[in-house]
């Protein structure tokens, strides 16, 4: 954009500030569906407006220049926030692109700006929009990575079932990374709770191969070294047959058909007989 064009646009943007921002805010608000308050949105858009006006006042419209750094980081912050609030990529882009129509609506009658100026402004907003979309996508990616890590930790909860009994219901594929987390958490829980019994429930594990078996065996041995006993529960028929064919031996390890049998066993060994009635908290 030529310097004169930038300066002309900046002057009009300053002149019509209130009207343009209001029109802009009206257009964006329709896409918010309550995820942002009106006051928050107005503040964001007003800040953004000031920054882009300031850039044009410097006679430039290039986002790559050092004096556009504030504008760039404001756009990045906006797209990060939108990604976290669950806005889609187009909903996020609209926040920026809507300024074009708002500007035309609120300043279209201004004879200081020509058609060519509007076209230049439009290209400028395209740049801002693209930058927003790019940072949105990067933000989205990092959120996904973060979430899958959280999920990995969340999906291996160690629960205290009873005084002296902790349990880990294992769900999904037990790869090395997850097995490591399971083992660490379980051992930590044994320390924290001083429990003599740990139940590894594998009802949710689709296949037990030698790697999974080895992880289970190591966890059991580690627990034993800490003076606790492990009970494995939830070995389904097809898994049992596969384990036998593979030749894996669980040896001395106590195995039970389901979690409540395992809990019964632990409680009986602890001398806490609870009879037939299932205790609260035993069902997961």
């Amino acid at each position: 954009m030529e310097t004169n064009t930038a300066l002309r646009l900046a002057a009009v943007l300053a002149d019509r500030q209130d009207a343009v921002v209001e029109a802009w805010s009206d257009a964006v608000r329709e896409t918010l569906r309550g995820r942002l308050t009106r006051a928050e949105l107005d503040r964001q858009l007003a800040d953004l407006y000031t920054l882009l006006r300031t850039l044009l006042e410097s006679g430039s419209s290039s986002l790559g220049r050092p004096d556009a750094a504030d504008l760039r980081s404001m756009l990045s912050d906006l797209s990060h926030a939108r990604a976290r609030q669950g806005f889609s990529v187009s909903e996020t882009a609209i926040s920026v692109f809507a300024l074009k129509a708002a500007f035309y609506r609120a300043a279209g009658d201004d004879d200081h700006v020509s058609k060519a100026d509007f076209a230049a402004f439009s290209l400028f907003i395209d740049d801002l929009g693209l930058h927003t979309v790019e940072t949105y996508v990067a933000a989205r990616d990092s959120i996904i990575t973060e979430q899958s890590q959280q999920l990995m930790e969340l999906s291996t909860p160690v629960v205290k079932l009873w005084d002296g009994v902790v349990a880990v219901p294992l769900i999904g594929t037990l790869d090395s990374a997850r097995s490591q987390i399971v083992m660490e958490r379980l051992l930590q829980a044994l320390v924290d709770t001083g429990s003599p019994y740990a139940i590894l429930d594998i009802t949710g594990v689709p296949a037990v191969d030698t790697q999974v078996a080895q992880h289970i065996l190591k966890t059991v041995v580690a627990a034993q070294l800490m003076g606790a006993q492990c009970i494995i529960s939830g070995i389904r028929p097809q898994i049992a047959q596969t384990i036998v064919s593979l030749g894996i031996e669980f040896g001395e390890i106590v195995t039970k058909a389901n979690l409540s049998d395992a809990l019964q066993y632990a409680l009986r060994s602890l001398g806490t007989d609870i009879g037939k009635r299932a205790p609260r908290g035993a069902v997961i």
């Binding site: 790869d175 296949a207 191969d209 080895q214 596969t242 593979l246």
Partner: protein, 139 residues
């Protein structure tokens, strides 16, 4: 030779990391379900595939797997093939011995996979690589 004619598309999966072992398992499970293997046979097949894929990764230094629906004229089944160009297996009998491992495993993967499958064949040349082919037939 394993007597097996393809009845459908060959699916191929590269094996270069732990994630790929999971992908092989998913591919094999999907094929087993499509061929209507019983739940027990599905589990056996998937478990064997998991072992062989991990051997390809760990001992063979990576390679690829192929999953092919097949028939022998009487029964349908799933053929799984694992190919690597790693060090090969010098002593096959030893490798098939329960408990034999060169990598701190349980040493049950190869022998266990053979017990889990209906057909099993290893072609290996020291210094050139290993190809393991195996079939699970429907019952």
């Amino acid at each position: 030779m394993i007597n097996a004619e393809p009845t459908g598309e060959t699916r191929r999966q590269g094996i270069g990391g732990d994630d790929d072992v999971v992908r092989v398992r998913q591919l094999v499970r999907a094929a087993a379900v499509a061929t209507k293997l019983s739940l027990v046979d599905q589990t056996k097949l998937v478990t064997a595939a998991s072992e062989l894929a991990r051997n390809t990764l760990i001992h063979g230094g990576g390679g690829y797997a192929e999953v092919i629906p097949v028939t022998n004229g009487r029964r349908n089944g799933i053929l799984i093939v694992f190919v690597d160009d790693g060090p090969g297996i010098v002593d096959l009998d030893l490798a098939f011995t329960d408990g034999y491992t060169t990598a701190g495993g349980l040493g049950l993967g190869l022998s266990g996979a053979r017990r889990l499958m209906d057909e099993f064949r290893v072609e290996t040349t020291p210094g050139e690589g290993t190809t393991v082919s195996a079939v699970k037939w429907e019952r």
